[in-house]
Symmetry: C2
Subunit: 738 residues, 2 copies
């Protein structure tokens, strides 16, 4: 909470430490609480279960202790063999009962962690996905031949293609359809900008050092790992101790450096690799620092988010939009965070692609003209109150969520709906997607409302998109620091009468009284807020003089009645000048893509049944390669047809692969299924060819001349495979499949 | 030359100092030599002209001196008034003649600089382009409200859109059509990678500091500015002195730190802003440095080019390509250079987008299967020999350039052709595009051949694409440093007999002689290259023993005949293992876009003739917005039609703008012409609408239902405006235009 409340300038940015008092949800950027990150359904039951099992275990242990004592006593007192045997039997029965409870506890813990599926099976699934991704070069650990750098990954050819497709669809779905103003700003950012945004001061994680080797660790990670390990593996833990450790996990993000340090000491936590003692925790700024220009006097940073580039351009963009609100600006680009020790593979990296939207709106009117387009959408939402009261995420209609005031306003609601459509069209499973509202203590003080699109993966629920109503915070911060007014105007059709505070310092009197300080006192008087001024007015009228603090000269002065006139006047105004609110949907593109990989991955047996084959069921929109072309057998005529089709596909802009190797059709299908290629064209005659769909394995025959345009229509989303099936005869061929 | 020869690891990278001995061309990354950067045509004539004019000027000055002396003598000797007047008249005539020569010289200098157009008119043209670009937010100086950072620019909405379009076309034209493997690597790069590539040691510019204020300058810039200024403005300069200064400009990039420093001292050059003395020149590394991770012990840099990310992945990409050559990998991404003091606006920036291709090929076979597709292309080429002999760039057919050996090989030629097609399809004027071959001393020692696509702009000829055959340099450098073999194999269909060197150290004898050092001596013997080994063999046979340096023990040892057997044997080999050559086309996207702006910009009078209107004649492929839609008059029916058309355009993925303001049609056209919008749809009825083409101002009438698909076909390049004119009646409307 430390600086979430204080600052939190941007989604994905300063919101690094997030409270999860009820540990019902992932902390936003730290979704790997693991065993303690309970899934939504059955959460409360699991907690109750675990608790009573720990108590039962403790009781059973004390029964065992008692019975053990009894056995020992019988033996030492030379009791009858039969009596001893009976006592030992009871003891063994108790031990068996204990073992049974332990195993129940183990199951309960695993169940709580995985929402049903065991932690082991989730790990195995993840390993299968990640192995396939790495083998097929969807991604590559960066600089691998030099043993890599933690938290840096390359997109290999298919991964790069998936990323391009996701970004192209993002541009179509948001920028084009919403007429947004896209900008492209540099990554290198001067310090002054990130001082204004608060990142220089507050964008930190707490770090501890191995006192002997100097190796660095995230302090909260070490404490978390300790608690997790204890809770998972130490069955002798009392229910009370377990509750204490769970409480720590829940408030982990709230702990100050001192509190974290105290807990680390109390539990005797040492450096994981060496068991050496650890330093006290201290803040480490997560921005990559550099220096702009050769002089060394202009510090700069690699931007931790793209949003600031938009904010500083507000004035020009507002002008470009004809001085009209609302409008949105968007930016896609790299962002950088120098993580202390990145874990969690592709989900926590040191450089990543963000796509951010800043929708500027009049704070007095947050309606949205296109809200009705999404109002009827219904999907999993997880409002704040339901989280607090231990409910589950439930299906809610967006119009209801807005009209009931669960979602703060129509514009925020509109973007939630658009994000839902974006993610599900990419292929995210709607049953593993929820919109979770921030708890009151997760949000920055200025934020009006905030929702995260969370996607369930083998790591738990992952925040992939943040959608925040950040009020006027960001524009105000940059207005102040730059002294450039980042404001909008509303021109009134008719002038309006407004009550205005008028402060008139009487310069002559002030000059006489304060001489050289006159200017500072005058400015301080003019800068008074309404409340302060009206209090002064009352005091001057009642007492004739008042003490007044002038911060520019650093002391109090005495203001007398004849030195200033304060009044309220009715003025006619022709326009209203205000700082717009900003609603910010912010997309972690790499996280979305990783979740998409998990949601798209499945295995199915080979025809011979001797092995499991991997498939990525990407929709054509996302698939890295839309189509493969290969001759059924190596044969010059077929090859020529294949090349002809390939040429038409290229002309139509369809990314495809032509395979002229003599590998068996079955193997070629398996290879392309693993890349998620949705369609395969097998050339088995010179007039018509067989087109096979990846998931159903359905095959149809289409004329050579038509096949490229049919594939184009399906991959462009103008028609579906079902449409194709209606148009062309289903074809079953012994030779074509496996 | 300093490290061009030594290193030059990549186009756009280390090739920072380039020799231009004949100053016939722009130095590649420093195309602003200005007055001394002669245009191709008429260069020699201009030089001769300038020279003779300077000599004539000097002669005239000495005549004036003589005549002035005569006048003074006549006056002091009290000569006749008439005689004095006659002498003064002669003197004035001489002065007039001198003024006339000065003016001729001025013209000659301006002509040499601008290739005909005067420097002033080029500056005015550039100013008009840049003003329009900035006013319409094609670009914005980054962090403008904080007074910006030199060398950093944002792309505003239309600029961002142009950039997206250029990159999308690049992907279609290169990645898709050539089946390249696209990758996406991080910008943050660990030091080890950039040490291997040579950037850590050599990627520097020479800098001098104001000794009092510490302000930094590029040493070569100061010397260049001095010489330029002298040559342009000092008409009293002797032809000899002028030749000296020109020589300096020509060899500027060759000068060592010491030579630069000596010249700065000799000419008394001081800090431009303060006139303070300057430090000696010293190298400044141009990479932005940072630190990876929290410990501070892992230095890293923001990559200065994208190529290294591809090289380090060679092994995986080769495997992905089925262990087959040739193949190409491609990458689009940000690159960073911490320029000492960036000048030249959008052409020299500190962060920019590169698009790079690394085409890996067997060094023994650089033919290209698709060369015939480009062989017949003919365009301006500027071979090395023509530059040296003072010729001009000439139109050459690519097939001829390759067959005559001007271009080193087919693959290089193929890419030159593809780059030509890419640039001209974007809208680069083919008459202001040339391919200039590097001079022998411009190329790195390992490079086989190198050509730059140079585009002529108001700054002169600008290198926008480098196309280099870099041989095996890069892969070898990373193989060595990483100890991972970055090689390819060619499997022979039948085993081949190869003569192989066999070195067999006799361990027993070596052990007796060298004891603890035996292992090091043995390894050193085994590691001998063929030449060394055969010399040793000969020496051992003739002398019986030989001195041998073992670097691992740091001294010479005596090897005797019985300690090693060296022979050549015939072996059967089943494959050839080799390091592939790489051919690298490297595109500076920002530079291409800037040149495109200049080539697309023109002005034309408004209808009333009272002002000049700006137009960007972007082809639809590049245009930031493809089409505008507006009702002729504000009217609900027309607005509905406009919205309907807008919806169809969105569905077709056509970026467009709907304008419902009541502004006059003429003004709306002017506004959109200035953004380079190729088509405007004016709704002037509910059944059919008027479509106007930007450059011709032609108008046709098209049915409301059809208009979106017609516009889509033209903007997608499936048909041309000429096709549209054939299909639909030309329409002349008083109301629709201006």
């Amino acid at each position: 909470m430390r600086f979430v409340r204080a600052l939190n300038t941007c989604a994905f940015s300063l919101r690094r430490r997030v409270i999860s008092t009820h540990f019902l949800h992932c902390s936003l950027l730290k979704p790997y609480i693991g065993a303690h990150h309970f899934s939504v359904s059955g959460t409360m039951a699991a907690v109750a279960d675990e608790d009573s099992l720990r108590r039962a275990l403790a009781q059973k242990q004390s029964s065992i202790d008692v019975q053990g004592g009894a056995v020992r006593q019988l033996k030492s007192s030379g009791a009858a063999k039969l009596d001893i045997e009976a006592a030992v039997q009871s003891l063994n029965a108790l031990k068996l009962e204990k073992a049974s409870i332990e195993s129940q506890l183990q199951t309960a813990l695993a169940g709580a962690a995985g929402g049903g599926s065991s932690s082991a099976s989730r790990d195995a699934f993840r390993q299968a996905v990640v192995n396939t991704l790495e083998r097929r070069l969807f991604y590559i650990p960066s600089f691998k031949i030099y043993r890599g750098v933690a938290g840096l990954y390359d997109y290999g050819p298919p991964g790069c293609s998936v990323k391009s497709n996701v970004l192209a669809f993002w541009r179509q779905h948001f920028v084009l359809e919403e007429n947004m103003l896209e900008v492209d700003c540099p990554c290198v950012t001067p310090e002054v900008v990130l001082k204004a945004s608060g990142h220089v001061e507050k964008f930190t994680d707490l770090m501890v050092k191995d006192e002997k080797t100097g190796t660095c660790y995230r302090a909260d990670h070490l404490l978390k790992d300790f608690c997790k390990e204890k809770l998972e593996k130490d069955f002798s833990l009392s229910a009370e101790k377990a509750a204490e450790l769970k409480h720590i996990l829940a408030v982990l993000d709230d702990l100050s450096a001192e509190q974290l340090g105290a807990k680390i000491k109390e539990y005797g936590i040492t450096a994981p690799d060496t068991k050496n003692p650890l330093s006290d925790p201290y803040p480490f700024n997560l921005m990559f620092q550099t220096s702009i220009g050769p002089s060394g006097v202009s510090p700069g940073y690699m931007r931790p988010e793209t949003a600031q580039g938009i904010f500083v351009n507000f004035r020009d963009l507002y002008y470009y939009n004809g001085n009209k609100l609302p409008f949105a600006a968007a930016q896609i680009g790299q962002a950088f965070r120098n993580e202390i020790s990145p874990r969690q593979g592709l989900l926590r990296v040191r450089e990543f692609t963000l796509a951010e939207i800043e929708h500027f709106v009049d704070p007095q009117d947050k309606s949205h003209s296109k809200f009705s387009d999404v109002a009827k959408l219904e999907f999993l939402m997880f409002p704040r109150d339901d989280q607090v009261s231990g409910q589950c995420a439930t299906n809610l209609q967006l119009s209801e969520a807005v009209s009931r005031g669960i979602v703060n306003n129509e514009t925020l609601g509109y973007f939630i709906g658009r994000v839902y459509l974006f993610l599900t069209r990419l292929g995210i499973d709607k049953d593993r997607l929820r919109f979770r509202q921030h708890l009151a203590n997760e949000m920055a003080h200025y934020a009006a409302d905030c929702w995260d699109a969370e996607i369930e993966s083998s790591y738990g629920w992952i925040e992939c998109v943040g959608i925040a109503d950040r009020s006027a915070y960001d524009l105000r911060a940059h207005s102040e620091k730059s002294s450039v007014a980042l404001v909008a105007q509303e021109k009134f059709s008719e002038p309006r009468e407004v009550e205005k505070l008028v402060i008139t310092p009487i310069k002559k009197e002030l000059g006489l009284a304060f001489k050289g300080n006159q200017k500072m006192v005058t400015e301080a008087l003019e800068a008074m807020e309404e409340k302060v001024a009206m209090e002064m007015k009352a005091d001057l009228e009642s007492k004739g003089e008042v003490e007044f603090h002038v911060c520019t000269i650093g002391k109090n002065v005495t203001i007398k009645k004849n030195m200033v006139s304060i009044s309220k006047e009715i003025k006619k105004e022709h326009q209203r000048v205000f700082t717009p609110s900003v609603i910010e949907p912010s997309f972690g593109i790499g996280r979305i893509i990783y979740c998409l990989y998990e949601h798209s991955f499945y295995t199915r047996p080979s025809k011979a049944g001797d092995e499991q084959l991997n498939v990525f069921s990407f929709p054509p929109l996302v698939a890295p390669i839309k189509c493969t072309v290969f001759p059924l057998v190596q044969n010059q005529k077929y090859e020529e047809v294949a090349k002809l089709i390939s040429k038409s596909l290229t002309a139509a802009g369809i990314s495809h692969k032509i395979d002229l190797t003599g590998t068996s059709i079955g193997k070629r299908y398996a290879r392309t299924d693993e890349l998620g290629v949705p369609f395969a064209i097998t050339v088995d005659s010179t007039s018509s060819v067989t087109v096979r769909e990846r998931d159903s394995k359905d095959q149809v025959r289409i004329d050579v001349e038509k096949v490229a345009s049919v594939v184009r229509e399906v991959t462009d989303g103008l028609s579906s495979w079902a449409d194709v099936l209606k148009m062309y005869p289903l074809h079953s061929s012994e030779t074509a499949e496996e």
